[in-house]
């Protein structure tokens, strides 16, 4: 008798598993076709020297790990990673601190909260084209009829600070920082929204209790608000890293396709360059390497987040 019951149970369990599996089947099918298949292709192509036009020929064009070796020695590639890292760093600090500050200010300011949450979300909604055009005009460094063309330089002159007038987007020391700031400006809306939502779920009673205990504003921020916001902060951090490392459309629309020597190159523009030079095997190697680096960073953040949860 027990054998029969076991067999039945097993049959039911298997059928159970099967129907459960059906739930993820559509996602898996689409994923495998449109992601896994090209992904495997990229791995295969990264060991070839291929111009993208000829038919793929493994025997003739196989170069083994040569593409990856070249990549290791490619100063421009690592420099572009550094640039992306800089943009990410500014995003993590400037953008997210700004977003947090704005969310904090908004949280207490109940009146115009809805107005602000709509307005602050406009930069993310705008296409990179518009953002690029507007900021290029603002940062323009030309002069016409004695007047500064760009809005920023114009204001600097008008407010009596002509020595600060700069060729913002062509000066090696200011080009990348300008890009990083515009990128942060465009992105803080997401962080703002997430932080605001997070702040609103903190139980008001915790604040009351802390005030009763005589805690000042700073202390409340440090001991009540921030700890409760750790999960949100981590989600925002990871998404910021992933988004900023892959930024490129904004750079192209502000500085142009070729960038400023290698002061403004980022990994994705490097990959696009390789593709346009018809070094597609190399471009795939770059893509694979970039992916591995991003996974490493994400795993690193997960590791830190797990550690912090334990604390």
């Amino acid at each position: 008798m027990p054998e029969l019951i076991n067999k039945n149970n097993k049959a039911i369990m298997t059928r159970n598993y099967f129907t459960s599996f059906l739930f993820i089947l559509p996602a898996i099918v689409i994923f495998c076709i449109f992601y896994i298949y090209p992904f495997i292709d990229i791995f295969k192509l990264s060991v070839l020297e291929w111009n993208g036009i000829d038919a793929v020929n493994f025997k003739e064009n196989f170069v083994g790990l040569q593409n990856f070796m070249d990549l290791l020695k490619d100063g421009g590639w690592w420099h572009s990673l550094g640039n992306a890292g800089f943009i990410t760093f500014i995003a993590l600090t400037l953008q997210n601190i700004l977003a947090f500050a704005l969310a904090f200010a908004c949280d207490r300011e109940l009146r115009m909260k809805n107005f602000y949450s709509v307005v602050f979300f406009i930069p993310p909604v705008l296409s990179e084209v518009v953002v690029g055009l507007v900021w290029t005009w603002i940062l323009n460094a030309g002069i016409q009829n004695g007047e500064q063309i760009g809005l920023l330089n114009h204001l600097l002159v008008k407010t009596g600070l002509p020595h600060l007038v700069n060729d913002w987007l062509s000066n090696p020391s200011t080009a990348l920082p300008c890009i990083a700031i515009v990128h942060s400006w465009k992105g803080f809306g997401w962080g703002f929204l997430m932080f605001l939502a997070g702040l609103q779920t903190i139980d008001k009673q915790l604040y009351e209790a802390a005030k009763v205990d005589g805690a000042g504003n700073w202390s409340i921020l440090k001991n009540v608000t921030l700890p409760m916001m750790v999960p949100v902060i981590l989600v925002v951090v990871v998404l910021t890293i992933l988004g900023s490392m892959q930024a490129f459309i904004l750079i192209i629309s502000m500085i142009g396709r070729s960038g400023l020597v290698d002061y403004t190159s980022v990994p994705v523009t490097e990959i696009l360059d390789s593709m346009l030079d018809h070094h597609l095997g190399y471009a795939c190697a770059q893509g694979v390497t970039f992916g591995v680096i991003l996974i490493a960073i994400s795993l690193g953040s997960k590791f830190i987040s797990d550690r912090m949860k334990q604390v």
Binding site: Y17, A101, V119, F120, V129, V130, M194, T201, V230, K309
Partner: protein, 281 residues
């Protein structure tokens, strides 16, 4: 005395916060305003005229953008793509997220992490294999081919987000439904989905934004004008050698409006939505 001082400080502090918020709001509204103002000017005045509000309002550009740009078709296409992709993602991702969260089957974790990893491995440089694949499947230059690709693009993030919310549903609700004889699909439809409505709002706005602003994949996979979305149409106003700025601005304004409206509609859901997800981490 001290009480008055305290009051004054509080007021000043409040004012400072106000100034801060208003300044940031101004910088956010400025591009929108500049875009609109430029769209009302003509090519020879758009750069020289520095005034904030143009003296001559030239609504011609909107007509030029609409007709010259063939906007009716592009707008319709963008709407079709956005609506179908979003509905597609909501269904496919919520089914998968529900399963990852509340159902048991072998390999569950493996598949889930596969989706997560996909979010972290971008596919730049995958254009050539993708185009070849889509052509092989006979889906090149079809709406359905582009839609399936775009559904794939948004899957990972949506599955992750929805799963976080499904995780929060108390199991007694689910057990109650099961005892009532609900099938798994029934539980998904009647119990799961309604309770994660805020998350669905977030998924809708995220993916709407992505599809609406997308143009790279559209240009690669679609060949005919009649299938192109709005953003591709806008590229036509930006030639290699010339840009008709006012008309481009008019086009961009037309393109920005619907998505802002969608955001306004979804906004209430989103603020609620993020709050549930946030505290769970």
């Amino acid at each position: 005395m001290k009480a008055i001082q305290h009051q004054i400080l509080k007021v000043l502090y409040g004012m400072a916060i106000h100034m801060f918020l208003l300044t940031m709001a101004a910088t956010c509204l400025f591009p929108l305003f500049w875009m609109f103002r430029s769209s009302l000017m003509s090519l020879d005045t758009v750069f020289t005229d520095k005034s904030l509000i143009p003296s001559v309002l030239n609504f011609d550009n909107y007509i030029k953008a609409w007709i010259g740009g063939g906007f009716e078709i592009y707008l319709l296409n963008s709407i079709i793509y956005t609506v179908t992709v979003v509905i597609g993602i909501v269904i496919v991702a919520s089914l998968a997220a529900f399963a990852f969260s509340r159902l048991k089957f072998p390999g569950k974790n493996f598949f889930f992490y596969m989706f997560i990893a996909a979010m972290m491995i971008p596919l730049p440089g995958s254009f050539v294999p993708l185009v070849v694949l889509v052509n092989k499947l006979g889906l090149a230059d079809t709406r359905i081919g582009y839609i399936l690709c775009m559904i794939n693009v948004g899957l990972s993030m949506s599955i992750l987000f929805l799963k976080t919310f499904f995780d929060k549903i108390p199991s007694d609700l689910e057990d109650a439904a099961r005892i009532d004889g609900c099938s798994k699909i029934g539980i998904w439809w009647h119990v799961g989905l309604p309770l994660v409505r805020p998350a669905i709002g977030v998924v809708v706005i995220f993916n709407s934004l992505n599809v609406w602003n997308e143009y790279i994949l559209a240009q690669l996979l679609l060949n005919e004008k009649s299938l192109m979305p709005l953003q591709v149409g806008l590229m036509k106003f930006q030639g290699a050698h010339s840009v008709d700025y006012p008309v481009l601005m008019a086009g961009l304004t037309i393109a920005a409006l619907p998505i802002i409206l969608v955001y306004l509609a979804m906004q209430k859901h989103i603020v609620k939505g993020f709050s549930y997800g946030a505290t769970g981490g």
